[in-house]
């Protein structure tokens, strides 16, 4: 079985995120880049499936040069090979453009299963897995808290507000996973050493046969017109207890429509 895991490098979850003054896109230089946390679960699940069923795990990313670090991380966790789509013309791509680029890269490589984390911590849209599935014409089974592959079928438990739905699809298919699914392994020391020697295919937009007119900030369907920093926290209301503190708090909560 050939499994692709799509990963994204995002600004460190705990770092303060900034937009760039020039084009209102995310300032990726302002913070350390890390692998999107949910993608670690996707990599873990791919590795488990490959270990259980046999097969190869290829990690796929689209992003600037330093996103290679994220490919390397997935390789050090145990993935077999990497594909890194890197090109200046990709800068500012929206979800539609991203899904187009990823779908083309994936389509050229014939995967049995494509796994995504269900969302990225920077954009938080959760649409790319579905868009990629649609572009590839593949079934999408998303928000999986459990994944089983049996022959030519993939069965998942789709996490819902109240429990889960059992959903099945024929392979090839696109799966997205939620954090409940597993506990990602850390790369072992041997994995870290081995990762340096694993093959990573670096592709430009031209290499991947993509239409540059469908990519980048100019092709985006939305545009950030302006932005402003979040206003600083207001001082708040101080309630002095003179025997009636409880009542005052209840009044405040009622006024704010909390109760």
């Amino acid at each position: 079985m050939k499994i692709a895991v799509c990963v994204k490098q995002v600004p460190d979850t705990w770092a303060e995120k900034k937009l760039r003054d020039d084009d209102s896109t995310l300032d990726r230089e302002a913070a350390d880049g890390v692998m999107n946390e949910l993608d670690e679960y996707a990599v873990e699940e791919a590795l488990r499936l490959a270990e259980a069923n046999g097969g190869e795990v290829v990690v796929v990313t689209m992003g600037p040069e330093r996103a290679a670090e994220t490919v390397r991380k997935a390789l050090s966790m145990g993935a077999d090979a990497g594909v890194h789509l890197v090109d200046d013309s990709l800068h500012g791509s929206d979800a539609l453009a991203t899904s187009y680029a990823l779908a083309e890269v994936l389509a050229a490589r014939n995967f049995d299963l494509v796994i995504f984390g269900s969302e990225s911590t920077d954009a938080r849209m959760s649409v790319v897995p579905a868009m990629v599935a649609e572009r590839l014409g593949l079934p999408q089974v998303t928000f999986a808290q459990k994944v089983d592959v049996d022959g030519s079928k993939v069965a998942i438990q789709r996490q819902t507000e109240y429990g889960y739905d059992d959903v099945e699809a024929e392979l090839p298919a696109v799966v997205s996973v939620v954090e409940k699914i597993n506990e990602p392994r850390y790369p072992s020391f041997k994995g870290i050493m081995a990762a340096k020697k694993k093959p990573v295919e670096t592709l430009t937009v031209a290499d991947a046969g993509l239409d540059a007119a469908k990519l980048g900030a100019t092709a985006a369907w939305t545009k950030v017109a302006s932005f402003a920093a979040r206003p600083p926290k207001a001082a708040g209301t101080v309630v002095t207890d003179e025997g009636d503190g409880g009542a005052k708090i209840a009044t405040y909560l009622t006024e704010q429509k909390f109760v």
Partner: protein
Amino acid sequence: MSVSADPQSRKALVDLAQKFTGREITPFLTTWETDGMLPRDLHRRAADVGLLGIGIDPKLGGSGGDFADVVAMTEAMIGAGASGGVISALFTHGIALPHVIDEYHRRVDAADVDGADYLLAQTIEPVLRGEMILSLGVTEPDGGSDVSRLRTRAERVNESWTVSGAKTYITSGVRADRVVAAVRTPETGEGAAGITLMMLDPASPGYATPRALAKMGWWCSDTAELAFNEVPVAPRDVLGLGLGFASLANHFVSERLSLAVTAYATAQRCLDLTEAWAKNRETFGRPLISRQIVRHTLVDMYRRTDVARVYTHAITDRYINGEQLIAEAALAKQTAVEAAEFVANAAVQLHGGMGYMRESEVERHYRDVRVLGIGGGATEVMTDLVARLRGY
């Protein structure tokens, strides 16, 4: 080859060591301090992710990498909240296993295939899988730092040996599955020439662990007193007849540098905790860090830590490149120990009453750093050694 020479790999190693510490160590450390020892399972977990075998040849069951990677790992673990006690207990094999590996190579060179295989399969590999705990037993109740005068004796009985005597302050000695003990073998000579390392099995008749020693710090690291009464030792467990002192001396530099790393890394952790505390803690209506005396104390802590780190790194790099640096390693240890003692003390002071409480991490580091100037070459012994080497 240093894995950490490549920035991405170094970042990955640091990340691994930090995550391992955050997931497998810090949540349980208080319990382990109460227990007085680490669980055996932790050794297996550390082995599973390759941390136990860093700097050791993969052909011997190690993880590869070199001493620079050990340094990067130690810094990252302590930086994430592991204590000096954790490092000493989890990596006890770091001071014991090199002697077994040295003997393994001697046997390979001497074409003693069975003897070499025995050490590899029965000791080296199980230790690096985290399944066997290996201690080093040198210090004796009336000996201290003077290795050449130790009194535990081995008597020849036909082809084998029996060992009688006592050892004390033996790290991981309560849990040990094997102890590499320094013993006197009069037939190989007087003084230093008469020392041999032998591997003792605590399950042997005559071997006793009378006491787990209660200590000022390093609470999660068990320390034992050992007593040997005609403990039998087979020839295959003799790690080079008469080569004991040379073998011990050979590894003094790496042991001292490792302790230097533990010292300045603990200082750095105390500094990080204190900086955060000084920014958040308000007294007399202002954050602590707004006081000049606090800011200047932090600078003093930073200066000592950074000087110790940069000096130790410089010496470590030269050591990895093959230089013999006996005086420099001793000075690195002293410098880093001084930094750790000053910084841990200042950290407790700036934390105020909270710094004296068990629940604050700096309290643990304050207890743990004190031994660093005593074990692995006492500060006074280091100073005198340097005086002799410098011709003063």
